[in-house]
Structure formats: C-alpha cells, structure tokens
C-alpha cells in the first residue's frame, strides 16, 4: 500500500515540480532538488522508513537502465557530428575523467575524510549504475556513492553554466563535453537546454566518461596510493 502510494506520490510531485521549473527555470526549483526535499520531509513527518518508500519508488530507479539504453537513439541520429569531432571529444573526456578520479581522491584525502567516504567519492562524476559498481570494487559504499553522484549532478548543473561563462566556452562541442564528463545525466539534461547538439555530445561524453572511469580507476588508484 505504502509502496504504491510512494510511487504515485513521487511521480505526481515530479510533474508538479517540472511544471514549476518550466515557468521559472531557477536552480533551486530543479525537480532533482525540490522533489527529494519534499519526499524526505514527508517521510520524517509520517515516520515512514526509507525501505518502505523505496519498495515502491525503486521501480523508478530501475527505469534508469532502459533510459541508458535509450541514449542509443541520439547517438544514432547525430553520429555524423560525433565522427567529425571524435578527436576533441575523446581527448577531453579522457583528461576530464582522469582529473575527476585524481582530484576527488586528493582533495578528500587532504581533508582527512575516512577511507570509506574517500572510496565512495572517487567514482562520483559518472552515471549512477557504473559509479555504484566502481565504488563497490574499490571498497566504497555503493549507496553512499549514489548520493554523491546525485550531489555532483545537482551542483554540476549549477557550476557548469558558470564555468562556461567564466572561461568563455562558446563552442557547442566543448560545452557538451564539459557538462557530460563532469556531471553525467543531470549535466546532460542541462546540456539539452543549450541545444540538441550540445545535449547529444554531452550524452556521448557521459557514456565515454563512465567507460573510462570503469576501466582506468583500478589502474590509477595504486599509483595515487603511493602519494597518500
């Protein structure tokens, strides 16, 4: 009963939040911020556990898998643009992903966060399913990583446009690569607000960043551990 109610409530709140965001596209009205805040508030007030909520809501999380597969469609439609810009996309995603792994770990270690948190932070910049997998394989806590991934997405969609303005990045390709590499799906959502080319480049960058992080993290970590 609670399960079904949680599912329907989340969808309705999301619709409402999306409607508000369309009228007033401010960061603090992003559905990814407003809906979780309302749901968390609701759970506290009604003394409902997260497990009871997630029994229904996890069906939404499961939809991330077909949604990831759906990225094949823009990939197919814009394949010519991608081929034309393959060099800058591959090289920049590679540099960005390596920077993400190294900087997350170095900063977290410098602030003396405990090892579990550090390991959970390392894959935070890539899409949830991959980030959770990497987190588990290096000794982090996948569920905590999921939260860090969301925080990265949310903060990234705020910082992204600021960086774009600050560094005067006017090129559609560069904008897309920047948002997709650093802020996965949420960044890609933002990138589609810039235009469909930027959005598509961002989706591709997000996928490449996920693959690079998946394969490079086990190689980079031992080298990093020499310094920390």
């Amino acid at each position: 009963m609670i399960a079904l109610f949680s599912l329907i409530l989340t969808i309705c709140l999301y619709w409402g939040a999306k409607w508000c965001y369309k009228r007033k596209p401010k960061v603090y009205l992003s559905p990814l911020l407003t809906v979780p805040v309302l749901v968390v508030g609701g759970l506290f007030l009604t003394h409902t556990s997260y497990e009871a909520y997630d029994a229904g809501a996890h069906w939404l999380s499961r939809m991330l898998e077909p949604a990831t597969i759906a990225f094949a469609v823009p990939l197919y439609k814009y394949f010519n643009i991608l081929k034309k810009h393959a060099a800058e996309i591959i090289l920049s995603v590679l540099s960005g992903s390596v920077t993400a792994i190294i900087s997350s770990m170095a900063m977290a270690k410098m602030l003396h966060l405990n090892t579990e948190i550090v390991d959970s932070l390392i894959p935070r910049s890539v899409t949830t399913p991959i980030a959770m997998g990497v987190s588990e394989s290096i000794g982090g806590v996948p569920a905590i990583t999921a939260v860090f991934v969301i925080m990265t997405g949310l903060l990234g969609s705020v910082i992204g446009p600021m960086i774009i303005q600050l560094l005067r990045i006017e090129n559609d390709i560069a904008r897309g690569v920047l948002l997709g590499t650093a802020a996965h799906g949420a960044g890609t959502s933002k990138a589609f607000e810039f235009g469909s080319v930027t959005g598509t480049i961002s989706s591709l960058s997000m996928i490449m960043a996920a693959l690079i992080t998946l394969f490079l993290t086990p190689w980079i970590l031992p080298i990093m551990l020499i310094f920390f």
């Binding site: 999301y14 650093a182 996928i207």
Partner: protein, 124 residues
C-alpha cells in the same frame, strides 16, 4: 492518443530489451552493466537498419526527457546516511564543488583548444 499508446508500447519494448541485456551480461559474466552493453547493441542494430528508428524513437525520447525522475529515489536515499552528511557533509560538498569545477575547466578547455586548432588548420 495513438502517439501515447505508441510511446507506452515502445517503452515496454525498451524495458524488455534492458532485462534481456542484464541476463546476457550475467550469463557471459561481463564486467560492464547490461544497460551500457544494451546501448551499444541497440546502436549497432540501428546502424545496420535491423531496427528502424521509428520503432523506438518516441519511447526513447520520453525516457530521456524524464531522466531526472529516475534519479529521485536515489536522492531520497540520502536520509539513510544522515550521519555521514552531519559529520562530513560540509567537506564532502567542498570536495564535490571544487573537483567538479576543476574537471569542467579541464575538459572544456581541452575541447576548446583542440577545436580552435582544427579551425586554424582549415583556414590555412
């Protein structure tokens, strides 16, 4: 109405495809998630015209447009770890903000540099 029904059928097809891919990854014991493998396979099927774009485009666009909805339960999961956030929340946020800014600057500038160099070569 027809569009709506079409979208629903296409989403169901994509979900079924996704389940099949998870099975395949399990069965072959591959180190990547089923969704990533599925994306590559679907892309190849589209390229080779085995699957036509019209069969899945509406459903795929709908899934992509509502992407944020699917992240919400994980974001609510934050309440399970409120101790982590109370103890380390400030530092964690600091790491995420600074690191994300550095990653963005690095990625964006690399792409910009390469694009500019390419343009120059075209002009000369």
């Amino acid at each position: 109405m027809v569009m709506f029904l079409k979208s629903i059928v296409q989403i169901i097809l994509l979900c079924a495809f996704s389940l099949g891919m998870n099975q395949l990854v399990n069965w072959l014991d591959l180190p990547i998630p089923g969704s990533i493998l599925g994306m590559f396979i679907l892309f190849i099927l589209l390229q080779t015209k085995i699957i036509r774009l019209e069969w899945i485009e509406l459903g795929a666009n709908w899934l992509l447009a509502e992407l944020l909805l699917f992240f919400i339960p994980a974001a609510v999961g934050i309440i399970k770890y409120k101790n982590v956030l109370i103890d380390d929340g400030l530092y964690v946020t600091l790491v995420i903000v600074l690191s994300t800014a550095v990653v963005m600057a690095c990625t964006g500038l690399t792409a910009k540099k390469i694009a500019e160099r390419k343009e120059q070569r075209h002009l000369s």
